[in-house]
């Protein structure tokens, strides 16, 4: 049994030079059968397993990950957390996630470094101003914190922005969600993995699913690179590879997989104390606790599974950054990477039962899944355990692409992807 992390365990381990920390989770051999299998060991999949074990008593379950934990989009995003969404369906789901974020470190006994440093969306023209005010009001009506800032208020919070009124995209105001912020992405995967493992969940890495076995329209189990594993319930959280896994069950998805690139600068002293997003200039940037600026680009236009994109996308992104923050023009950038995002036509996810009995999918989070991690796992665990959606995710079906009740959140991406 693992010991609880605390200031005392830290002190105790310091006495023997930190050489005797125990493993955070086991690496068991897969059993021939489980009560449920989660395909995909990213944040959403691990959170699903954790809440299945903790809230629904399903502990004979396994998480199958083709690579290493959090090696996909969980480790490749810009770590922004917010819930300032326009439509009710999204607002309630992301707000549920945000509330879970607020106590996540205590819940998991793992510091996910959730920092509610506030998040601004800038307005650069009259339309932006009206749209932002509309959103601020809509969000407040859903009992989610949101406020409108004048230019002077924006300047007080972030004086290093380009406030030149003659700029190509002058700053005219902003919306602010004070409870928004950032979290440590890797810690989210590790924290959920450790907590799920402690409840008896088998986390199996380097185990790629190569097929779904279906008979009489019912899931039987999964074929993997480490043999066949039977389970009456299979929850798939494969992010960029959603269409590939869905095809194994003969399903067609409204998803296209695109590279989304991000990059970090060299570390500098604290300069940016909040998260700044701008749709018109296309910037979303924050400063990590290590001092690096973390910013994301737009998606590459073409579909891909390669976890890399084209350099001109990054060039465009750095142009946008220096337009908004002229003083960053002398920063050097250290690292750049790409993740494969599964984009739905309405920029909203699918968290639902599938037409195949016992098969569930949680996918289509596209460019903005990280912020939803706890809420996504929470509603998906409910859906798998109860075999019906929770009220929070009942609108996020696959069938909405037939009956037309889309949840159009392209605007809420805050930047255009």
């Amino acid at each position: 049994m693992k010991s609880k992390y605390s200031i005392f365990s830290l002190a105790r381990n310091a006495l023997d030079y930190h050489e005797n920390w125990t493993e955070a989770w086991r690496s068991p051999e897969p059993k021939p059968a489980y009560d449920a299998i989660i395909v995909g060991g990213g944040g959403h999949g691990l959170a699903t397993a954790y809440y299945l074990a903790k809230l629904h008593g399903l502990t004979n379950i396994a998480v199958l990950e083709k690579g290493w934990l959090g090696g996909g989009n969980t480790g490749r995003n810009t770590t922004i957390v917010r819930s300032n969404y326009l439509w009710d369906e999204s607002a309630f789901l992301y707000e549920h996630a945000l509330k879970l974020w607020e106590s996540l470190s205590q819940d998991l006994n793992f510091n996910v470094m959730f920092s509610q440093r506030g998040l601004m969306n800038l307005a650069h023209n009259l339309h932006d101003l009206r749209e932002i005010q509309r959103r601020v009001n809509a969000i407040r009506l859903n009992d989610i914190d949101s406020e409108f800032l004048t230019v002077d208020q924006v300047r007080q919070i972030c004086p290093i922005l380009n406030f030149d009124p003659k700029a190509r995209h002058p700053i005219l105001g902003a919306s602010l969600q004070r409870r928004g912020g950032v979290a440590r992405h890797d810690a989210v995967a590790w924290g959920y993995a450790r907590a799920a493992d402690a409840l008896g969940v088998d986390i199996i890495q380097n185990c790629e699913v190569s097929g779904l076995r279906v008979a009489n329209n019912r899931i039987q189990g999964v074929e993997t690179t480490r043999g066949y594993i039977a389970a009456p319930k299979v929850g798939c959280v494969p992010a960029g590879h959603s269409s590939v896994i869905a095809a194994m069950a003969g399903l067609r998805f409204p998803i296209e997989s695109h590279p989304l690139q991000a990059l970090v600068s060299e570390p500098v002293k604290p300069i940016l104390h909040t998260v700044v997003m701008s749709g018109a200039v296309h910037v979303y940037v924050s400063q990590s606790d290590k001092g690096e600026l973390v910013l994301g680009a737009g998606i590459d236009a073409y579909t891909s599974y390669a976890q890399r994109g084209s350099p001109h996308i990054l060039e465009h992104q750095l142009g946008s950054l220096t337009e908004l923050f002229p003083l960053f023009s002398r920063l050097r950038f250290m690292r750049q990477w790409g993740g494969i995002v599964d984009v739905c036509p309405d920029a909203s996810p699918i968290v639902a039962k599938m037409p195949v009995e016992g098969l569930y999918f949680n996918c289509g989070w596209g460019t903005g899944g990280f912020k939803a991690t706890p809420g996504s796992g929470w509603v998906f665990a409910y859906t798998i355990a109860q075999d019906r959606p929770h009220k929070l995710n009942e609108a996020f079906t696959l069938e909405r692409f037939s009956h037309g009740y889309l949840i159009d959140e392209h605007g809420a991406a805050a930047v255009a992807h």
Binding site: H241, S243, V244, R252, F253, P254, I255, E256, S257, A301, Y302, T303, S304, Y305, A306, S310, P311, H312, P345, F401, S402, H403, G404
Partner: protein
């Protein structure tokens, strides 16, 4: 940056082109007889393969003509480009 061979202009940088998504999706005829599911399939469902993808490109900053390409979605290799109306080339997946 991809190097794309426009069937009309030759090889150019990707930044001259606009992407048009999956190719060879025919708009159903007899639209009054389609079920919602068939409409949804036509409008939204995509192959999104991991492997060779047949897709449309537009030489937006060149000759402005549309054409098709067969491109591998893992290697990004463009195996062939061909004019609109031509059948897709036979390529191994």
């Amino acid at each position: 940056m991809l190097l794309i061979t426009c069937p009309h202009c030759g090889q150019r940088d990707e930044s001259e082109f606009a992407y048009g998504g999956e190719a060879h999706i025919a708009r159903p005829l007899q639209t009054d007889q389609l079920t919602d599911q068939q409409w949804g399939d036509y409008l939204f469902m995509r192959k999104n393969p991991k492997g060779v993808h047949f897709e449309r490109w537009n030489h937006a900053r060149g000759c402005r003509r549309w054409f098709n390409a067969a491109r591998h979605t893992v290697t990004h290799e463009i195996i062939a480009t061909y004019k609109m109306g031509e059948p897709p080339p036979a390529v191994s997946k």
